[in-house]
Structure formats: structure tokens, C-alpha cells
């Protein structure tokens, strides 16, 4: 890939190069708090996973500014088609850690009723955080369709869709970008380029100069942003969202960043990423970068971080305890929500499962380990 200079706002001293993000003090602090919340949620999940209390989790360390910067450009009436590595966007918009923890534990209170793996959230309120799908790229055309529908109704709603560098090779990327271009659909394509798709580096993924340039194939403007710079992300995403709302069509935004952890709790990245790469990116930590900006604005005192982290640790541990205490979903959740109405054959299958449990005792849970 070419070393294109990405859009940057926050400089090494915490200055914003004259950019006014248009965020209140409260909002700026909310950004900061949300980034820390992502990190604490992550830490907590890692511990829960390592101690066998949940099965799986996805690390976000290093990506927080990409998530939160983008979230600041979204309205509650917008649609968010996120990937599994985006939950900072949900947290920014007020989705509660405990509701996320219900999913991590796959319990009866989970919106997905324990059907999905951990980190596959679904929320309708306070923002339409669309049920996450594991197959890579399939959600991109959904965003285009939802945006098309909004436009047809004359709403100024925008559909945001987030995916990784690997996701650009998927079929959904090709179809979605192409349809969005032709329809001038109000979509913002957020490519979270963290340089790796599990163990595959960008050289294995594409020979293009950048990910943003892929927009050329579809008549969709492309922008490259420093994904560790919260304000740069906000700037680019807000501009794209405003253009989309005004009927100007879609934009592809490539946020250059790096995940400091493994692909998931089942992955050991040191097997395929050189140590130097980690070291280099550690210096670009997005939270420290934003702290500098807050400091320059007079909004940050050193003590704040420890205090906020303390509060968050408490909140999120409490969320985990609450979720863990909720039991598994009841047996009938296997059979419901397949269709709007339960068809006869599913009623019969469910009945048979109940009968058997009564006659022969319950099924026993295995101890499957997740490798990915």
C-alpha cells in the first residue's frame, strides 16, 4: 500500500489545528469516558473469558477513537450496521453495559435470547444497532437498502456501516458500494483498517494503493483518516454524514488503526505480527492522544483517568455479576422467532424436546472451546 498521509486533527501537543469539533465540553468528556468504557469492558471480558465464565470475546484496544469518533456523527434516528469490533459506538449512544453483558453470557435477558455468540449484540434502543452477523460483509448491502428506504420516505436518516480491511474483499462490499453509488444512497461506509484480517496482513488482502481508493470503482468518494485521532474521525464521518443527509450520496472512509490484542480471545497475534509493530502502535494510543487534546482544552486533570476507570470497573463488574446471575434462556427460545408465528412442525419438535427432557432428563452442556 502507498503511504498516503491520512487526515489528522490532533497534533502531538494536543492542538486541533484550528478545527472546531462542535462538541460541548460534556460531549467531549463523554467521548473520553466512552473510550475508557470500551477498554474496561474489554479488560473485564478478557478476565471473564480467561476464567471460563464466558466463552469468547473480541479485543478493541487501540480502536477506541475510530469507534467513538464515528459515533459522534450519528443521530439516534440513524441506522448503525456494525461489526463485532464496534461496540464503542453502542456505548457512546447509551447502550448499557449490563445489556451487553447479557449477550456475553448468552443468558435469558440477552436481546438475542442466548442464540448468538458473545459480542454479537442487537439493540433497537436508544439507537438502531442492528443485530450483528458473523459472516463478513453481508451487512453492507443491508445498510444500502435501509438508506434507500429512508430516502424514499424523504427522511434525512443516514445508514452507517462498519467493517474491517478484510471486509473489503467480501462480496457484500462490492455489491453495496456499487448499489450505493448508483442509487446515491445516504450511507457512510466505515472501513476500520487495522492492518490485519486475523493473521492476514493487507498485502495478502489487496494490491490497491489504499482501501479508500476502492471507492473509485463505484463513483464513491474515499477518505483516509488517522483512526487513532478521535477528532479526525469525527470530522470525516460528520462531513460524510452531512453530505449524505443533503442528498449527496455515499462516502467510503478508511480509518487507519491497529488492534493491540489478538483477533479474539482464541487468537495469539504474536505468532504472526512482529513485536516492533506492537511497539510502534502502542505509542499512538488513541486514548492518550485524546487526553492531550482535553488537556490542551483545559478539560483533563491527571487524576481523572484513574477515577473514571475506577467507576467504570465497578459499573462493568457489577454488570457482569448481574448478567451471570441470570439463568440460561428457556428451552422454547430454540423454537421461537424462526417465523413470526410458530409453525406446526416446530411446535411438534418443541413438544418432543420437552417430553424427552421429562422422560429422560435434561441434555448436558458440553465444554466446546472456541478457536477463532
Amino acid at each position: 500500500m502507498k503511504a498516503t498521509e491520512p487526515l489528522q486533527v490532533i497534533d502531538s501537543k494536543g492542538g486541533a489545528n484550528g478545527y472546531d469539533p462542535g462538541l460541548s465540553e460534556e460531549e467531549l468528556l463523554h467521548c473520553y469516558r466512552t473510550m475508557l468504557k470500551v477498554r474496561v469492558f474489554d479488560e473485564t471480558c478478557l478476565k471473564l473469558q480467561r476464567s471460563g465464565r464466558i466463552g469468547f470475546s473480541i479485543p478493541n484496544e487501540g480502536i477506541e477513537a475510530t469507534q467513538v469518533g464515528a459515533a459522534t456523527a450519528m443521530r439516534k434516528t440513524d441506522w448503525l450496521f456494525a461489526s463485532y469490533r464496534d461496540f464503542g459506538m453502542a456505548l457512546y449512544h447509551g447502550i448499557q453495559p449490563v445489556d451487553m453483558m447479557h449477550n456475553m453470557f448468552g443468558n435469558a435477558a440477552d436481546n438475542s435470547r442466548g442464540r448468538q455468540m458473545p459480542v454479537h449484540f442487537t439493540f433497537l434502543e436508544p439507537i438502531r444497532f442492528v443485530s450483528i452477523s458473523s459472516p463478513i460483509g453481508t451487512h453492507l448491502p443491508h445498510a444500502v437498502g435501509a438508506a434507500f428506504a429512508a430516502k424514499r420516505r424523504g427522511e434525512d436518516t443516514v445508514a452507517f456501516v462498519s467493517f474491517g480491511d478484510g471486509g473489503t474483499s467480501s462480496l457484500g462490499f462490492h455489491s453495496a458500494m456499487n448499489f450505493a453509488g448508483v442509487w446515491k444512497a445516504p450511507v457512510v461506509f466505515l472501513c476500520q483498517n487495522n492492518g490485519w484480517a486475523i493473521s492476514c496482513p493487507s498485502e495478502d488482502q489487496t494490491a490497491s494503493e489504499s482501501y479508500a481508493i476502492k471507492g473509485k470503482a463505484y463513483g464513491v468518494p474515499g477518505v483516509i483518516v488517522d483512526g487513532n485521532d478521535l477528532l479526525a474521525v469525527r470530522k470525516a464521518v460528520l462531513e460524510a454524514a452531512e453530505r449524505a443527509r443533503a442528498g449527496g450520496g455515499p462516502t467510503l472512509i478508511e480509518c487507519k488503526t491497529f488492534r493491540m490484542g489478538g483477533h479474539s480471545t482464541s487468537d495469539d497475534p504474536t505468532k504472526y505480527i512482529p513485536k516492533e509493530v506492537f511497539d510502534a502502535w502502542r505509542k499512538k494510543d488513541p486514548i492518550l492522544r485524546f487526553e492531550k487534546y482535553l488537556k490542551a482544552c483545559g478539560l483533563w486533570k491527571k487524576a481523572d483517568r484513574a477515577r473514571i476507570e475506577g467507576e467504570l470497573r465497578e459499573e462493568i463488574s457489577e454488570a457482569a455479576r448481574t448478567a451471570e446471575a441470570v439463568g440460561p434462556p428457556p428451552l422454547e427460545t430454540i423454537f421461537s422467532d424462526v417465523y413470526a408465528e410458530l409453525p406446526k412442525h416446530l411446535r411438534a419438535q418443541g413438544q418432543a424436546a420437552f417430553d424427552l427432557a421429562r422422560r429422560k432428563g435434561d441434555a448436558m452442556a458440553g465444554d466446546g472451546e472456541f478457536p477463532l
Binding site: S112, F148, A149, D337, Y339
Partner: protein, 324 residues
Amino acid sequence: MSNLTLIQAVNDALHTTMQADPSVHVLGEDVGKKGGVFLATENLTNEFGEERCFNTPLSEDGIVGTAIGMAMNGLKPVAEIQFQDFIFPAFDQIVSEAAKLRYRSGGQYTAPLVIRTPYGGGIRGGLYHSQSGEAYFCHTPGLKVVIPSTPHDAKGLLISAIEDPDPVLFLEPKALYRAVKGEVPEGHYTVDLSTVREVRAGKDVTVFCYGAMVPVAEKAAEAAAAQGIDTRVIDLRTLLPLDEEAVLDAARSTGRVVVVHEAPRFCGFGAEISALIAEHAIEYMEAPVARVTGFDTPFPNTLEHHYLPDQRRVLDAIERVAHY
């Protein structure tokens, strides 16, 4: 009432729902000005504008994928796939997304779209313009699969499909598009999904069939009648969810069964019918459950009339099970 061909009935259903409900949108390759390669969408763009009935890029993945998004956000998309043979680029969207969205989101998000597509042989279309892929989809919980065989059902079932809260794959037997004509009520009416249609009563043998095999089975049943074999013909018409009770009742009523479809035999839809009977009605069976199907090969061109079950083959099976 008007006397319409099957494809005119499809067009009528689209017309009727588009008129009644502004959220209904039709999309697909060539569905706009040209009206679709079979003319199923003729005049819809003229009448409802390019925003309601429009061409898409050549990507079935995109057609179904964006239609899912539209359906999530309040529209009623009716997507056309030009030939069922070309639906496979959209297989992931159908099987992984449309069929599973309600389940995985605990009902928070749903995808009530309709995918219409012509299927089956009889037009000298060879490998890629003749296939009957229903079994690929019927193994997919969350999806509904519907196949009409008369103009009346085509309109009524399609309106039901469009009004259904779940994703429906609507397979149209292209061999019948212009080959059958029938009375079709004007305006709005529905035919319930998940009910079978008795085409012909009979007490010796039951033939299960659907789509373009229905008239073939009917003719074979008439020929059997001439030999004194009284044959019941059941048009399954909604394959998923199937009215299993109706199937088992019919099977039990005659104790002799023939299942007919165009698709290859192995793991075809007919296997499920046989399996249901073997599981729930075997004690009523007085003969093997026969299948008359396409061969387990790709679909040939010049010899398609040998490949497709015809009256000869169905009659032979009826005779076999009747005289077993």
C-alpha cells in the same frame, strides 16, 4: 374475474399490491422499462414510476442484500431474480441473512421481503436456464418457499407472500407461464401459505407434485383412470412450511404414493415427503413410495424431454404402486 395466463396473474398480483400499498417496491435486472425478460413486471414502471419498479446492477447478491435492508426499514421489496439458476450469488444473503435475522435478533429486526424467480425446465435452456432448486432453500429454517401451479394460486399466493411478515421465496414454473390460463378474481385476495390444494380426488394412489409437474400429474392421473386406477393429485404449493398433516392424511387415504418433481432425485424435496411417510404413516403403506424426478445429473439441453418427468414416467409409477 378475468381469464389470465400464469404470468399475467403474477403481474396482476404485483399491480394489485403496488396500488394498495405504497411501500411495495419491485427491483431486479431488466424489470424496469423492459418489464422483465418474461414480462412479469410489464408496465409497472410506466404506472408506478421508476422509484417503485427499477433496474439494478447485475448482482443478485446486491439485489437480495439491499432488499433485506429495505425490508428492515419498512419497505416491502419484491425482488426478481431473472432465472432461479442465477440465484446462487445471493445464496449467502438468503440463507445466512434473510432466514436468520429474526431469530438472531430476538425479533428486533425482520426481513419481510419476497424473492420471485422463474424455475424449471421445458424451454430448452440447458444447464443454467432450467434448474429446480427448491430443495436448496427448503432446508433453510426461517424461509418460506412457495410454488404456484395455476393463475388463481399465482396471484393469491403472491399477494400472501408480499403481505407475509417473513421472507418468502416465490418460485414460478416458467414452463407454465403462458401454457396455462384460468379464471383470476379481480382485486385483492389471498391464498393461505402452508395449505395444499387437492387437484383431483382419488382413492387408489396419491400423487404429490407442485409447479409445472401438476398438469403432468393430472394427465397421468387421467390416463390411470382409463385403466381403473383412481388417482388423487395433491399440489403442495407451499413447500416450506409444509402442511405435513395434509400430506400424511392424503398418503394414508390411499396407502400408495408417488412423488413427482423436476429437480434431481438425490436429496430432492421428494425425499422429505417420502421420509415423512416412512416416519409417520409407514403402517398404512401398501407399496413402496415411488419418486419420479429429474435424474441425478445437471440439466441437459437437447434431451430435456427425457430428463423431465412426463406423463409416461408418472403413469408408469402410478401403475407400479397400484399393482404392487
